[in-house]
């Protein structure tokens, strides 16, 4: 599937609110969270390019303009920097804006206002900035260097920001609700490659709200921990399943929250298995993996039985051509390879 084939499709299935045990796609879960919060709290509003009449480049907000009207779902001029500051100003006056970047790649156009302004107001003069910035990130869709980026590490370095990156439909909803209710600016990375490729049970109402800052143990194991987030979680699970078939016991920890990191869960798992592999789709150097490795190497030093290993994208832009992108993108096979080496250590 490429970004134009399927990803942008109109969807007829707006999840009905009363279905008791709902199976939603990752994308539907995001929309469900937006709708739930729009219904629950009149202060919540959505802003972004083409999110209203059109329903968003990926149709995440489809139907919401019709349901909530142009005061709650606002099509904006094409001006990310202004947009983020406008959202901050709205937040100063009691609104709770959820801003969509059309692709995570374009968050760099609003970067200045996020890191300098939104992130610092509360520390500097006590003014909270309850905004959410949704950033559809990640590759694997033949979309090239400007529609595939994983740039979460920029923001994970900035005090005052929170950064989350769900990997399941339930977390997509649960974390987005938390992000909207959080009094701080939260960057919410949603993974385009998961939008329609995964489906799962998604709780309703106030159930299933996922606190920011808590990792999820997706799988228990004894010999090795794979720490991953976003698109790399399903890949890690696949690798772990394969290893299990080969008789090895592997734990998978889904970070979910990149700032703050759940140091406790990270250290607990590292101490337990003694071998840690960190997988992310972002470029290797300076990525989240470095921070996680530093936390472990400082906090679980005595428990380590092998070198902390990173599986990440090589340090290049995301290339377009299929063989190049495939070589670039980390996946279950690459995780498996590295895991085998580490297990054999």
């Amino acid at each position: 599937m490429t970004w134009d084939q399927g990803l942008h499709k109109e969807i007829s299935t707006i999840a009905s609110e009363d279905a008791s045990a709902r199976e939603l796609t990752y994308l539907e879960a995001i929309r469900d969270a937006l709708r739930y919060e729009l219904l629950r709290d009149a202060r919540v509003l959505l802003m972004g390019e083409d999110i209203g009449v059109y329903g968003g480049a990926f149709k995440v907000t489809q139907g919401l303009f019709e349901e909530f009207g142009e005061r709650r779902v606002i099509d904006t001029p094409m001006a990310e920097l202004c947009m983020i500051s406008v959202a901050t100003g709205m937040a100063f006056q009691g609104l709770l804006p959820v801003v969509e970047m059309q692709f995570a790649d374009f968050i760099s156009s609003g970067f200045d206002s996020i890191v300098q302004f939104a992130a610092t107001n509360h520390y500097r003069w006590g003014q909270a900035v309850p905004i959410v910035i949704r950033a559809p990130g990640g590759g694997g869709l033949r979309a090239g260097p400007f529609h595939s980026q994983c740039n979460e590490a920029w923001f994970a370095h900035v005090p005052g920001l929170k950064v989350v990156a769900p990997s399941t439909p339930a977390d997509a909803r649960g974390l987005l609700i938390s992000a909207i209710r959080d009094p701080n600016p939260v960057i919410y990375y949603e993974t385009k490659a998961l939008y329609r490729s995964i489906k799962g049970p998604v709780p309703e109402g106030e159930a299933g709200i996922v606190p920011i800052g808590k990792a999820a143990l997706r799988r228990q194991g004894e010999e090795l921990t794979i720490i991953a987030y976003a698109a790399m979680v399903p890949e890690a699970m696949q690798a772990a399943a394969q290893l299990e078939a080969e008789g090895r016991s592997v734990e998978v920890l889904d970070l979910r929250s990149l700032r703050p990191l759940d140091e406790e869960a990270i250290l607990a798992s590292a101490r337990k298995t003694g071998k840690v592999l960190i997988a992310h789709e972002a470029n290797r150097t300076g990525g989240i993996g470095g921070e996680v490795a530093a936390i472990i190497s400082q906090g679980a030093f005595e428990h380590l039985d092998g070198p902390i290993t990173r599986v990440a994208a090589p340090d290049t832009p995301v290339p377009y051509s299929p063989p190049l992108e495939d070589a670039h993108r980390p996946n279950a096979a690459k995780i498996l390879d590295a895991a085998r080496t580490l297990l054999a250590y």
Partner: protein, 320 residues
């Protein structure tokens, strides 16, 4: 529009207070009592006070680094400001932000200033959009400079306000320089206000040293905004009478330019007018100045006696 004696007296007080506080700051800086750098606003009093007084208490403003008069007129006290300059826990930012930065307090409708110019514009736009969405009859005012006008964010903000027809008043303080950079390096036009046409909003040029002119234009724009007319751009022509900050001797400014503007000092102009219509005499002026000095003495004492923030509080408040 005739300006009432009461308004003129208010304006006179705030302008004099801004000037005196500015001088006091310079003095304290020489004594090394002020931490770090220091920005003077001398020459800007008519702009900041004239614009601020056009607002209602419930309105909001996002002032920049030479708008001391706006902070004062909206209720941020000299005590809190001097404590801020001295990095004390009683300063507006509780010792966190530097000099005139981060002096925000929404109880007084003031947004804390951030260096990255012109960040004040879009946040005012956002507040105005919130007012519109909530159906509140409030106005947001934002300040920016001639240098700031070169930044893309100035364009995005004016355009956004125009597209959504938001109740914003943009005050462009054209004080001839951005740090050492003269207007000719920022733009190829004479009046920044001409750009308003590109957003289909009124663009007005006023004498920024004439309180009445600034006030009238701002008052008009606030009324227009509150009535749903949308944004206005007011360019106030003025002069930065000191260096960019206290370390800058502004050797790059032609002496004649300074002399010319010194003859048009905004406070002198206002006082001449007030004397002319019998609102001010020598006795009245000395009384006022003495009152202000006493106020500043008290504020300075308060600031100096205020504790520094406890270093244990270092990481407090990064998150709300």
């Amino acid at each position: 529009m005739e300006l009432s004696p009461d308004l003129l007296r208010q304006a006179h007080y705030w302008m004099r207070l801004a000037r005196a506080l500015d001088d006091r700051g310079t003095f304290l800086h020489k004594q090394s009592k002020i931490v770090g750098g220091y920005f003077s606003q001398i020459g800007h009093e008519a702009v900041s006070v004239g614009a601020a007084l056009a607002l209602e208490p419930n309105d909001v403003a996002a002032p920049m680094h030479r708008d001391l008069g706006c902070y004062l007129a909206r209720g941020i006290t000299p005590r809190r400001i001097l404590a801020q300059y001295m990095g004390r826990s009683t300063g507006v930012s509780r010792g966190r932000d530097a000099n005139i930065h981060g002096m925000g307090d929404l109880n007084f409708g003031i947004v804390g200033f951030i260096s990255h110019l012109p960040a004040s514009l879009p946040v005012a736009v956002g507040m105005a959009q919130a007012f519109t969405l909530k159906g509140e009859s409030r106005v947001a005012m934002a300040f920016y400079g001639d240098g700031s006008s070169s930044q893309g964010l100035a364009h995005e903000s004016l355009n956004w306000a125009s597209v959504f027809r938001l109740p914003v008043v943009f005050i462009c303080e054209n004080n001839q320089y951005a740090y050492s950079t003269p207007l000719s390096r920022q733009m190829n036009i004479v009046d920044i206000a001409d750009r308003a046409a590109g957003y289909d909003m009124p663009g007005v040029v006023v004498d920024g040293n004439d309180f009445a002119a600034v006030y009238r234009a701002a008052h008009e724009a606030v009324k227009y905004a509150r009535a749903g007319g949308g944004p206005t751009l007011i360019e106030c022509k003025t002069m930065r009478m000191r260096g960019h900050a206290i370390h800058d001797n502004m050797a790059y400014v032609p002496k004649e330019l300074l002399t010319e503007w010194a003859h048009r000092d905004p406070i002198t102009l206002l006082e001449d007018h007030m004397r002319g219509i019998g609102l001010l005499d020598n006795v009245g002026l000395s009384t006022l100045l003495a009152h202000i000095e006493a106020e500043l003495d008290e504020a300075q004492a308060f600031a100096e006696q205020s504790p520094y923030p406890d270093e244990a509080s270092l990481t407090d408040g990064v998150y709300a």
